[in-house]
């Protein structure tokens, strides 16, 4: 192994390992701040530079939280399975970190001194792998296991219920998630993340096509469920299961769970950005390659902000409703979307009229299907009129 190759590997991996955990800290701050402002509170605003009264908008809060977590007592319940109790948070973190390498973050611009190193970087980066998308889904599947390990090993009924819910939920939502990604793979004809991103150069983002839009919405909803975000945060449902599968975790193990959860949020938002939002595509990228990283992170963060916003607005679904939503609504709709995408692909879209017609027809079919499925999958609920007695 030549020295250049080692440098290339380091440049390809170290920024990933540095950026995302620090972005995790920033995101916890962002989430707390945004939720606080949604709820008309101030959020963290005291913790800044230590020993002074400089608040820095509370940016020191994640560091303070981290230090607190490190020093907290690590409690393992009596009768818990100590080994699996320890392994679960680690197992939650590893796949989340692994899938980060499939995000098309091209760091070759860092190697300004040597063209060959830049070429090597491009060669070793994970997204250059031909089966990147499949690999992504394969590895995120491991997350389920860690959740169940945590739920089982804690020897707590709430944890067990949380673990049970998590398995059912994650397995169910994996299917619409994959099926909505299949549409893009079908269109591009490749599983390579880089090629998918390149296919959308020049504002040809897939979200601007009718099937792409539908697939993006399905993908986003399923991604919320995959990462246990509100309104699908049933495994950790605070109001009935206290904290779900990590009820019995404290200290740094708890922090690892958190870290894993946030990093898989980044990963799945990153995949959404690659599949539907053009990856690192954006104005000025052609001139300055580093802008691609900035644009990509900006897209991830806007998706994460929408997640936070949803979390601040919506209550939680119930278990049966959640499963019905996945199997009776999202799954048929995503299968139908594949068909629609296939037809739309073969209709020539030379002029504006044809484009509009394709839009109208595809969205019409999808909407009608959604409406019908909606009627099938649940009892009719609607606001009621109330009477008054004098």
């Amino acid at each position: 192994m030549s020295f250049e190759l080692v440098v290339a590997i380091l440049i390809a991996t170290v920024p990933l390992l540095a950026i995302f955990p620090s972005l995790f800290a920033l995101t916890t701050w962002l989430e707390r701040k945004a939720l606080a402002r949604i709820q008309n509170r101030r959020g963290p605003n005291k913790v800044g530079v230590p020993c002074t009264r400089i608040g820095l908008f509370g940016l020191g809060q994640p560091a303070a939280d981290g230090i607190k977590m490190l020093f907290k007592e690590d409690i393992v319940p009596k009768g818990a399975d100590r080994l699996f109790h320890l392994l679960a948070p680690i197992l939650a973190l590893i796949p989340a970190m692994l899938v980060l390498c499939f995000l098309p973050l091209d760091f070759s611009f860092l190697a300004v001194w040597d063209e060959s190193v830049a070429k090597d970087i491009k060669a070793v980066q994970g997204f250059a792998l031909d089966g990147a998308v499949i690999f992504f889904f394969a590895i995120t599947g491991i997350n389920t296991l860690s959740v169940f390990m945590a739920g089982w090993a804690s020897r707590n009924k709430y944890s067990l219920l949380g673990g049970m819910r998590a398995i059912a939920q994650m397995i169910s939502y994996e299917i619409p998630l994959v099926l909505s990604a299949v549409v893009v793979v079908m269109m591009v004809g490749s599983l390579n993340a880089k090629e998918i991103a390149d296919a959308q150069v020049g504002w040809n983002w897939f979200v601007f096509t009718p099937w792409g839009l539908a697939a993006f919405i399905i993908f986003f909803i399923a991604a919320l469920a995959e990462t246990n975000r509100s309104p699908f945060d049933l495994p950790e449902a605070e109001s009935e299961l206290i904290a779900g599968y990590f009820t019995e975790y404290s200290g740094f193990k708890f922090a690892l769970f958190f870290l894993g959860e946030y990093i898989s949020m980044f990963a799945i938002s990153g995949l959404a950005a690659v599949l539907f939002l053009g990856g690192g595509e954006g104005p000025g990228v052609a001139g300055y390659p580093w802008l691609a990283v900035v644009w990509f992170l900006a897209k991830i963060f806007s998706l994460i902000f929408v997640m936070i916003w949803l979390r601040g607005t919506l209550p939680r679904l119930r278990v049966d409703q959640l499963m019905a939503f996945a199997w009776k609504f999202l799954l048929p709709l995503s299968i139908l979307n594949i068909l629609v995408a296939g037809f739309a692909h073969f209709i020539p879209q030379g002029n504006v009229v044809a484009k509009v017609a394709v839009w109208m027809v595809s969205l019409g079919i999808l909407y009608a299907a959604a409406k019908g499925l909606n009627g099938l999958s649940r009892a009719e609920v609607k606001p009621r009129e109330y009477k008054y007695a004098q």
Binding site: R42, R53, L314, F325, N374
Partner: protein, 235 residues
Amino acid sequence: MSFLGGGIFSGMAVTLRNFVGSYFDPDRLTTNDYSWRPEGQLPQSAGEYPREEGEQLSDTTTVTNYSRNFPMLLHDGGDNPMDAIRCVACQICERECPPQCIYIEKDYDENGKFIKRPAVFDIDISVCMGCQICVEVCPFDSIVMNSQFELSTPNRFDGLLLHRGDLLKSNDYYHRIHPEEAKARDQRMAVEKAAKEAKKKAAAEAAKKKAEEKARAEAEAKAQEETGDKEEEAQ
């Protein structure tokens, strides 16, 4: 289940409006930030928190003019507050206090004669619930509610037992923390005092009148007696 409906989006519009609004409209904010405001913008100079160890309870820590916290004893000025203390140790408040947190002992001079003031007046604020019943039952307007809230102490037993010295506050202080209430109370006390004095005066006059009448009657009787005697003598 589906998202096919405007309900979720209208809800998201509401939260977005609140998100943006909280930066521009301070009325929206639920919480008030007291401790980081520059000096002078506080409601009324709230004590620095946390206090230095051993520091006395800060004196004027008032949230609003109306809030009440624990009772205090009033005195009417003077260098030696014990001379002008209003409390006469009648122990009505001690009896009426619902959680029974007041502890009074009467004061006696060296001859064992009761002087109208408390020797011991303790309030256990770990028990006191700030209900203001003692203020209502006091016939001498000597106990009123304080609004000092910085009472944290490292000693939970003796530190929370307020003694006479801690409780004694001047009437000026009362005017400073509860201006409206103090003014009304002073007016009422003045009216009552005037009425009392008028009554006293009337009583004194009545007594005087009675005495005069008595004297006159006696004089008349005496005169009659004398005349009788004279008549007897004459006979």
